[in-house]
Amino acid sequence: MKMLSRLAESNSHGQDSSYFLGWEEYEKNPYHESHNPDGMIQMGLAENQLCFDLLESWLAQNPEPASFRHNGHSVFRDLALFQDYRGLPQFKKAMVSYMSKLRGNRVTFDPAKLVLTAGATSANETLIFCLADPGEAVLLPTPYYPGFDRDLKWRTGAEIVPIKCTSSNGFRITKSALEEAYNSAKKQGLTVKGVLVTNPSNPLGTTLSKDEINLLRTFISSKNIHLISDEIYAGTVFDHPAGFTSVMEPLMSSDKKWANNKDILNRVHIVFSLSKDLGLPGFRVGGIYSNDPMVVSAATKMSSFGLVSAQTQHLLASLLSDHRFMESYITQNQKRLRQRSSMLVSGLKRAGISCLQSNSGLFCWVNMSHLLRTRTLESEMELWKDMVHKVKLNISPGSSCHCSEPGWFRVCFANLSEATLDLAMQRIKDYVDARLNKRSHSSSQCDVLRNSRRVRSLTKWVFRLSFDDKQPEER
């Protein structure tokens, strides 16, 4: 008899993916501008580090929540004891107000339908536990966040069937792709329980169009299945904010047909988090919003396995209730993200590399297919290894996101300083230039060239660093 469970013995945790292996390589040799300038630059981590100065300044002006106080009284004891899985009321109230703000106040949310969980990781798993039995399936548009293989399948026993999206139409979801996925599941003998989309999308950095949302609504209605919309990047929409449409919106608009259809309303669920918008992944704040009281009830009970620390709820209740601050934060955040995204896009353009046009997220979906030897997965892996070992950049290969077309990579831009981003762009350019030169020179000459380019790029980098010293420190 095997001593441990199948879960513990298997690889279904998905951590052997190149997505996580890239992180491990980074951990072995992390870049540091002074301690390790030749180290690997982390561009595989979708973190938002652009606005901590704003949060820190808020903290400086609001000492009470920091020291477990409220209106002059100590609330330490109350918080230390608070383990009610319905969550701190003032926190939930503040959360729904924030969620509404991000959607331009076009939707209002009811705190009683909000379930708090330890991060979106837990929220996604919990929703699947509520909606699918082991062996049942969820349809996901590809490419998708690599962590979903663990979050949605590992302990739940559910299956993922991909909805293949391609570059031919900007990776948009089409009716035929949906039907094909559904039929493919059926052929495999799998009962489909729902569709899970990420909106804004990780890794694409795009928001679902109104057409796509209509398509999804029609689809789930006809198949009598659920729609889960992971909207954890809602606060990272930096271009045309009105371009972000939450899946809840059409259902609550003046479109009476849908607004009154309780049956559909009850089958649409949102996952949210503060990890991306506010850059607070360490605080583990996530949750589920659902109109279905049974889902809310079951998910709330399950949240016992991963509640949000009361200390954290208290702090964030104060922060999110400061409406003036939050509005200013949202605007600043969008501005800084837009600027960074442009920097990355133009830097890659200089290296002859294009990106999918995006309006959100903490990353770009980059097309490096022209750098592949052949349009195959193997070539993509070779290119990725070059990135990791030669260029010393951790970027995430499209295959780890289950992209059906080789050559695409997700490159993050909000978790590093401008100077580091610059350096990363330079390294890529040098690599591309070297590759181009290699094609027209003999290999020995190429080596010489590569070495001299490395020296020259080192010089350039040294020059850049000294130049940057004179500029204000950028986070």
Binding site: L4, S5, A8, A80, R155, N224, A298, K301
Partner: protein, 478 residues
Amino acid sequence: MIENVGNDQVLLSKIATSNHHGENSEYFEGWKAYDRDPYHPTNNPNGVIQMGLAENQLCFDLINEWMMQNPQASICTHEGVHRFMDIAIFQDYHGLPEFRRAIAKFMGKVRDERVIFDPNRIVMSGGATGANETIIFCLANPGDVFLIPSPYYPAFYRDLGWRTGVNLVPIPCKSSNNFQITKEALESAYEDALKKDLKVKGLIITNPSNPLGTVLDKGTLRDLVTFINDKRIHLVCDEIYAATVFDPPRFTSVVEVIQDMPGIDRDLIHIIYSLSKDMGLPGFRVGIIYSYNDKVVIAARRMSSFSLVSSQTQHMLAALLSDDAFVNKFLGKSKERLSKRYHHFTGQLANVGIRCLRSNAGLYVWMNLQHLLKEATVEGELKLWKLIINQVKTNMSPGSSFHCSEPGWFRVCFANMDDDTLEKVVKSTPSPINKKRGQMELQLSFTGSDSLSISQLGSLILSPHSPSSESPLVKGRT
């Protein structure tokens, strides 16, 4: 074709629609009764007093004081904000190194430094609730079973079995030997499970025990370790009440015992810990899995992604628990206050003829009300329980919700209220005459109808006859 339109039962999973969350148990019903009508000394003096919640509220003053003196422990204060960004982005499931070191050190201190814990084996989870579920996910497959001595903590039914699909097989313990686990009961439960073709993957024990409040002696622990080793099954020791041992005999952890048992396969030994009971911090959701099995540590750590401890909280607790002087003071004071509470409470109970199992740990007593049952059945126990909630206005947890094989036992918590509230519950010692009258009423009450007057119950259960009483129990008496 649209199937089952509007039929939620079909659209949701079996797990979501089952009752395996266990919240329909009387254990939780009592809490709900309290929630609907909670006692408050001024706002609601006739409300239900909560004695069904095993919380440790005796030492907040010490922690509060430490917080005031150590503002740097918070990443939000002026003194601590320089660490805000690093902590806010830290989501590594290994946990903050300083947090793991502090927890390992604290766990060692709680065991009087007789054992050393390796910080690299510390795995976080969302409270002991999350930790218990996670360890079962790592050790057992759906359909497998775990042996568990009864009576046991009601929520284990949910924590160990709801989403994991694992079932519990009780090892009944009896009052005739003070509910100790016997070899015979253990072997018998194991053999019975095998006869039913059940795959036994392990044994889970709570030491100190909830709801008994007793600790396992070294001999019993050795027997249990030998048993699981022989059968090649796992041993999970839930030691979340380790620092609530307030009187001798001292606490012996399983890790201490295995130190002297070189022939034992350590890959079978796992500990669950938490700060919710020992430190009274259930709101901060700190659960720990400590395993000697490397594969389990790796798997549990990966699973901890689903329930990491907030980094803000890790940071604060790392500072708190690394302060040796504070920890030593806290552990000492906590024991002292628990001991005082326990003796005061049980003394008062004894005065009115209520006996409890002799215990030396935990935040509750295991109270024997068998003599008050009309019929020695679960139904009889539940009738008495309802009376206690509705008429005596006190939430105590009936033994049947702990799967106790003998009706009439109740778990009554004493550390989750302030001194005044406890006084309201337990009065001063009545005179011998009153005591005798109380006993007479005892006999009388059960020859009559089911419903007892508050006066009868009041004298029955707790304190009867103090004219100056403010007790809500007696107040109903006119």
